[in-house]
Each structure stands twice: as structure tokens, then as C-alpha cells.
Subunit: 215 residues, 4 copies
């Protein structure tokens, strides 16, 4: 088992100095194709079972080339995860801007489907987010960061809420979003569509309550 195995050590990205940045056009292309390859590999196999060799092979690169830019398995996973989080943050920013002019039920729908859609497009996200679920001490975890984004969307539609109240509700909303992903990926559920609608209804209910709360 590698040192990077998430539960065997608490260190994780502790030592992960940033992956060496490419300084040439060729390098940029390589990094991009390596990240993409890593994405498919992690999605296919999960973090632990994914191998550096396989990632390099998928990218059509030599193992040495992979290590040139990502000196550890942790680091390529970290880089990938960071890009995912940034994309998600971007999505949330847009949602925050659109939110005030949005019908509550539409907002509920958007929120409920944000993670679901993202996961469909970037299937490695779940595997990595799970592996890197705990933050380093002194760091902000992915979960925490995304919760902050949700909070800012919520603040945009329910400005009258206290920050503490927003934080609590953002945490709940985040869980509903995650639940939607779980449901969506659970092939053992006969009527997934119905459950998804139910979840969306719950989200709407919950948002309504938040918005109406002090009115």
C-alpha cells in the first residue's frame, strides 16, 4: 500500500509541493493530457487501484514524463481535484449571480442537479473527493470550500439570514446535493426518477423555508 493511502497516514497532501509547472508549449500539452488520463484512470479504478504506469500509458507518455510534472500520485490527484473544485466554484458563481432572478423551484432544481451533472462530466471527482475528504490541519477541505460556495448562493437569495443560519442551511443543502448524486448513481433503485423528483421537492421545501423564514 502506498504512503499516500488516505487512511493509513494523516499526511496526504502534506508534502505535496506543487507539481512542477511546464515552461514550454509541449509541456503544457503533456500536463493536460496527463491530467485527462489521470481523470479517466481514477474514475475507472478509484484512487488506490489506479496506477501511475496506467496513467502514463493512457496519456501516451513515458512514466518518466509523468513524474517530471507530477512527482507523486498524490500530486496528480491533488492537481486534478483542484481543477475540479475550481470548475465547480465557477458553476456556483454563475448560479449566485443568476439566483436572485430565479424562481425558487428553478433554483432548487439547479442546485439538486449541479453535483449530478458535474459527476457525469467528471466521473473521477467522486473518487478523489472521497479519498481526499479530510483536510490537512490548517487547510480548507474541498467539502468546506464547496459549502462556502453554496452559502454564498444562499446568501444571494436570502439576504436577511444571519451568517450562522446560512452556514447551517448550506450544510444541509450540500447534503441534499450529495444525496442526489447517490440516488442518481444507484442502479438498485427501481424508480430513480421519482426519487430524484422527491429530493428536488425536499430541496425546494427547504429553500422556501429559508427564504420565508423572517419575512
Amino acid at each position: 500500500m502506498s504512503m499516500a493511502s488516505q487512511k493509513s497516514t494523516g499526511t496526504l497532501r502534506a508534502e505535496s509541493g506543487q507539481a512542477k509547472a511546464p515552461r514550454r508549449a509541449r509541456g503544457h500539452a503533456r500536463v493536460a493530457s496527463l491530467l485527462e488520463a489521470a481523470g479517466t484512470e481514477f474514475a475507472d479504478k478509484g484512487y488506490d487501484a489506479a496506477t501511475m504506469t496506467a496513467i502514463a500509458a493512457r496519456a501516451g507518455a513515458s512514466i518518466g514524463s509523468l513524474y517530471q510534472f507530477f512527482p507523486t500520485k498524490d500530486q496528480i490527484a491533488g492537481a486534478l481535484l483542484e481543477s475540479y473544485v475550481n470548475m465547480l466554484a465557477e458553476t456556483f458563481h454563475k448560479l449566485r449571480e443568476a439566483a436572485p432572478s430565479l424562481d425558487v423551484s428553478l433554483l432548487a432544481s439547479r442546485l439538486t442537479r449541479t453535483f449530478v451533472k458535474f459527476r457525469a462530466t467528471h466521473p473521477a471527482f467522486a473518487a478523489l473527493a472521497e479519498t481526499y475528504s479530510d483536510a490537512l490541519p490548517g487547510t480548507i477541505s474541498i467539502r468546506e470550500r464547496l459549502r462556502g460556495e453554496i452559502a454564498s448562493v444562499l446568501a444571494a437569495v436570502a439576504p436577511q439570514l444571519e451568517p450562522a443560519e446560512i452556514a447551517v442551511r448550506a450544510a444541509v443543502i450540500q447534503q441534499i446535493m450529495k444525496a442526489a448524486v447517490a440516488i442518481n448513481g444507484d442502479t438498485s433503485i427501481a424508480s430513480r426518477k421519482a426519487v430524484m423528483d422527491e429530493l428536488e421537492g425536499l430541496m425546494r421545501l427547504y429553500l422556501d423555508e429559508a427564504i420565508a423564514v423572517t419575512r
Copy 2:
């Protein structure tokens, strides 16, 4: 990475014939201590990083002895997971029996805390449930089985609901229960207590709606 790694092979518990049952009291004690050792090892390291050698060592047994009872890593994990699921089923059975005489808010509280408590007592459960989240074709997954248990509790308090309706609602309730676990284990949340209460409120709301739906 091991060949047994869940995602790297499609085999999983495929070959898992039942772990050989011990014939004598001596054997039962061994099996029990091996399972316990596996539990702490999996909880500490996660499925992938846990090693058969470490499990045997924790149980004070030799590696050969471990393999006598559990011929693969999969099988000891499977046996452990099964025992956990049985314990949970037992909990749900009790809850189902108590449910009709329970206040809705009390039932909400019980449900919300069932997984939370169980995870506190059996920390390996989460690690294994995650690893073995997907069922073998033709098998029933853990998730599915637990959802069935939840459904039966729900049926006990809302007998007027159609089976399909119950199935959908059970799926949602299961997600709220999982959310509770997530919240409870997320140290990055400032006011975990408040979020837990909020979640319990949501559960109550949802149960109320179910029970009242056609009345």
C-alpha cells in the same frame, strides 16, 4: 495494489464462497477475534491499505490461521460487513415494532441517529460499505437491503401508502440518515449540533408528510 482491490477487478465477492465455518468452540473464538481484528484494521486503514498480515497480528494469530477461516481478503471483509448488516437489520426490526406507538418526532430522532450511532460503535462499517457499495449482478446490495428495512419501518407507520410510494420515500429517508453520518463526522462544520437538529427537523417534516399524505 492488490488483485483483490475492489475496483480493479470485476471479481469482487464473486468467488466468495462462504468462509469456512469453524467446527469447534476454539474455532469460534478464533473467528470472532479475527473478525474483531479485521474491524479495527479496516477502520484504521481502510479496505485497501489494510493487510491480511496486520489483521492476523492484531488477532494474535498466524497468517496461516487467518487464511484457514477466511481464504481471501474479500471474504473477511464480506463476513464482517454481513455481520454489521445483520446488526443493523436487527435494529430496524426493533424500530419497526416500536414505531406504531412512537411519536413522529421521536421516530425522526431515532432514524436520524441510527446510522450515526452504529458508525460510532462500528467504525469499519463505513469503510467497507463504501468499498462494497456496488452489488454483484444478481445479488442484493447492502444499500438495497437496508433500504428495504427502512421501508418496512415506514410501512409500519404509514400503512396506507402504496409499496411504490414507500420505496421512494425509503430511499429519501436513507439519504437523510447518511447525511446525518456525514455531518456528524465532518469536523470542519462549526455548528454540527445545529446542523444535526436541522436534519432531524427535515426528517420529521418528511415523515409527517408521508404519514399524513392520504389521511
Copy 3:
């Protein structure tokens, strides 16, 4: 480069818990043959260039078998070195007992040739002693230990000397012994025999002085 590389880290045998002791006859045989193989490999290639794979191959063992008993390269080197040091200590003990009844020139000869002979019989000793020349903090280095042995021989023939005086002279004697090894192994010296004699003369001179010093 390995973490065990002597100069890149100050740690060396720091983490080297003792190599796992064999508990079966077969294991003992294996350990013996592995140590012997390691001896020839280290002698041939030096510590850094020696490979674990080559050691296992020389012993006719699988790489796994080697690691069963010696979990790191450091540890097999350490075990080997320790056995060498013990053999040398034994030699010194015998010399100490014989010393009082020995002619000074004979003692000089014996001392001068002790390391030379040992190195001829155990060619890996030099390579390892060099690599592990620095002691861990709180540990006693090989050099130090052997110096102690020399001191005890000296004390046996010059009992009137103060301990501090003995320590100083033991250090010098040790250097002459090492010099003898160097000379003996230096093929670029035309008249090695003559130089060896010269060195032996120097040793005799130095011993004489020590013995006569306060008489």
C-alpha cells in the same frame, strides 16, 4: 537513490528495528545463506551499487523471502556488519588474553595484521564499515566499539597506564591497523611487503613506548 544512502540522510539505521528472527530451521538456513550472499554482493559492488534483487538471487531465494527476514537494505547490511564486529571482538578478546605472555614484537605483528586478515576473509567488512561509519546519536559506532577492544588489549599489556592515556593510544593503534589494510590493498605500491614491515615496526615502536612509559 535510496533513503538509506549514507550521506544523504543522517538517519541510517535509525529506523532499523531488528530484522525478523527466523523461528524455524528452514528460516535459519535462509537467513544464513542470505547473509552470506549479501556479504559477497556488498564486497563485489559496495553498499550503494549492491541490489536486493542480486542478493536474493545469489542466495537462491525469492525477493520476497529476502524481505521476510530483512525488511530493508539497511537492515541486512546492519546485521552483517554486526556479525563482523562480533567476530572481530572475539578476535580481540583472544588477543587480550594472550597478550600478557606475548613478546612486544609479536603483539605488534598480531595487531598490525588483525584487520588485514579479517578483511581478506570478509571482504564486505570494509565497504560496510565505511558506509556505516557514523554512529546514530546515542549509539556507539563500530569504530568506537573496536577502539574499545583495542584499548582493552592495550590495558592488558600496559596496566600502569591511565585510562585517558590508553584511550588516546588505542586511537592511534587503530589508525595504524587501518593503515595496514590500506597498504595491503593498494596495488599501486611497488614494495607493499616492505611498507607493511615498516608499519609493523612503527606499531612495535609505539607499543614499546606505551609499555615502557612509566616504568
Copy 4:
């Protein structure tokens, strides 16, 4: 282990054509800084553990630039070592000129400290000298060359000695000089100062004998 590792291959400096000489001032500065960087890297890590990449980095040069001037690791080590040997030769030349007018005890002191001082100023010397201790067939080893220098100093103060006699004594003196380095670097010796003095005394004794021998 690298292919260049000295003991693993018989090649050594065999292929070491001279490192390409730079044509311009710019190049000279580069070479100088590369050599200096190599010096600190070898001193820090030892020959094996030192990496070409690290040397280039220390010099603020690219790896390609390093290889432009020193096409192999062997060659940069060789060039460095040669510069060291030349410096030492220079020191010996001066000593030879001063020797006739020097008190024997002063000469003893100078000789004893020559290597000690040099090593303090050029800590990589020891690491490299060790690595390249054996000469290529047909070549003259460093040790041999320095022994020649010592011989010429000795000849300056003891002109009546036969060349063969001088060669033998030079070999012994060289060993005492090396012993001084060893003592000086051995932190496990309580009274290093006393041992150094003792060694100097031995050197004086030995020189006296040489000078007086046929007078």
C-alpha cells in the same frame, strides 16, 4: 543505482574523454560555478547520492547546460577531483621548497595537517577520492600521485635516502596523514586534540629516523 556507479561497472573514467573546454569567458564562469556546485553536492550527499539535476540546480543552470560541459557524472567528478589534486600538488611543491629550511618538528606538523586542512576547505575531496580510489589500468591513481608528491618532499629533507627507501617511507607518511584526517573527523573520540598531537609526535619520530638514518 546508476550505470555510472563506480563499482558496478568496470567502466569508470574509462570513457572519460576530457570534458569539453569552454571557448568563452561566459563558458568559463559556467564551468566554475558548475564545479563548485558539484563540490557542495558531492560533499553533502556523497558521489552516489548526488544527482546531476541537483548539481545543475545548485549552479543555477539547466540540466542541458551541465551536460554541455560535463557529458557524464563521472566526468564532472573527475574534473573536480583533478582540480583538487592539482591544488594539493601545489601545496606539496611549496612544502618541498620550504622543507630544507624547516625544523623537523615543524615539517611534521605541516605534513600532519596538510590533508586535514584541505579536507576542511574542500569537503568533497574525501568523498570523491574514496569513490575513485582505484586507478584505471595504465593510469596513475590519485593516491599514487600524492604519494609521489610526498616522496619529493621527503627527498628534499633526506637526500641521502635511496629512491626505494623514500617510496616506502612516503607510503607510511601518507598513511599517517590520512590517519590525521580520520581522527580529526571522528566525533566519537573524546580527546581528539591529544590524539592529533600523538599522531604528530609519531610523524616527527618517523621523519627524524628517516633523516638520521644514514648520517
